[in-house]
């Protein structure tokens, strides 16, 4: 089979203890027997490990944060595209997705294809909208309150008591056991991610997750359920194992069919003692543990890029149960000139 020559730009090279999905997405694409691939890494910080990791990106460019504005980001993407002729862009951060979705037309004009969620789909699954989402699609979700200002904290004590889970609109989630702790995390999270801060009813149980890919027409192209076996203090999976759980798969398929989800997604669920599943969050992008799904037989990033290229993709019908991943940390040695290049020229 002749390999398809393709240049893919990928964000999320921060392979830290709070890892972005960029490096595993790139590994998955490099594993593909269908692509003769050139990877353009897009980094926000000059110390993102993926910039320096051998065999990851062929070339890396710094890009401005979405908070610098759409124009600055699109100007930079335009510059990179003139040099690299990007075929597909795979954004991997929740916080940048909105900007890229809004700019889909501009990207298209540049000849850059994406496979992103629709804006309404993206909006309705927001943490703050989750109770309405659960009701609409008949999925159990915990109750939640949106805190738009400091005084809203009173509403939490009136409605829930403690513990509750306090969450940033894009990232961060902490279990808090008192008003003092809630105030502390409200301040920290709102300073970092802005308002609103979401407070969710605490559901006791085991956290389980699904990585999935929807084709935008209601079909589930791939889905692999996983349980975190080893969790960092940031709540990130440092180890995990694929599960054989029909309920999780049914919930995923029904959600994708109902929402006609387009693109990658991660469902965060709590399985209670009574084996009930509660949806606690939908992340609108591929998660950092996606390489587990690849190892289990579903190369979800490859399927996503194929769909972005307009290729027909058959849904995966199986995966290996009991496949595990364990992360590790590794000291990469880097010569100063590479750091200098990325810091001063914004490319490497």
């Amino acid at each position: 089979m002749e390999r398809i020559k393709v240049t893919v730009a990928v964000t999320g090279l921060n392979n830290t203890d709070n890892p972005g999905p960029g490096v595993p997405v790139i590994r998955a694409l490099r594993d593909s027997p269908c692509f003769d691939i050139r990877i353009i890494g897009l980094a926000y910080e000059n110390l993102e490990p993926g910039i320096y990791m051998p065999g990851v990106a062929d070339k890396v460019y710094l890009i401005p944060y979405p908070s610098d504005g759409v124009d600055a980001l699109m100007d930079r993407i335009g510059y990179i595209n003139r040099k690299e002729n990007i075929d597909v862009l795979v954004p991997n951060f929740d916080s940048e997705l909105y900007t890229f979705m809004k700019s889909a037309g501009k990207l298209d004009e540049m000849g850059i294809r994406t496979f992103l969620p629709t804006l309404p789909g993206y909006e309705e699954r927001h943490k703050a909208n989750l109770p309405a989402f659960g009701k609409k699609y008949n999925i159990p979700v915990p109750e939640s309150i949106e805190l738009g200002n400091y005084s809203d904290i009173n509403r939490v004590t009136e409605k829930f008591g403690f513990p509750v889970v306090v969450k940033g609109k894009f990232y961060d989630a902490y279990i808090v056991n008192s008003r003092e702790q809630l105030t502390h995390w409200f301040m920290k999270i709102s300073a970092k991610w802005g308002l609103p801060v979401v407070v969710q009813e605490f559901v006791r149980g085991t956290e389980v997750n699904v990585v999935a890919l929807g084709d935008g027409r209601g079909n589930t192209i791939g889905a692999v359920p996983m349980r975190k076996q080893y969790i960092t203090d940031k709540g990130k999976a440092w180890g995990g194992i694929t599960l054989d759980d029909k309920k999780m798969m049914e919930l995923t398929r029904s959600l994708i069919a109902g929402t006609k989800w387009r693109g990658g997604m991660e469902l965060e669920l709590i399985r209670t003692e009574n084996q009930e599943l509660y949806l606690i969050e939908i992340n609108p992008r591929i998660p950092a543990w996606v390489y587990l799904a690849v190892g289990a037989g579903q190369n979800i990033p490859e399927a996503l890029v194929k769909m972005a290229l307009g290729m027909e993709v058959k849904p995966f019908d199986k995966y290996a149960v009991g496949k595990m991943f364990v992360r590790y940390s590794y000291d990469l040695l880097v010569d100063i000139d590479r750091y200098e290049h990325i810091s001063t020229k914004g490319e490497n």
Partner: protein, 97 residues
Amino acid sequence: MRLKKNIAVSETGFVFDPNSGDSYSLNDIGLEIVELLKQGRSDSSVLTALNSRYDIDRASLEKYYHDFVSMLKYYRLTEERPDAGADSGHNPGIQPQ
């Protein structure tokens, strides 16, 4: 009661529940019991097999066996047989509640 069909048991006594992702270690006798249950043997049949191999009075064996099976149930490694109750007349003392 029987062991769930999808529970994986290795010859070293490592048990993996693919539904929960949990894993367990069995000692030699635990492994022997689980292997007998995996064969679809009833409680009374497992007890008879154990009684013939080990020097233990039947009452103590039933007690330890019942404790062990309760643990398997607690960890959701078992399920009811479709024909549950069929052999309940043989040994009502150790049948599941």
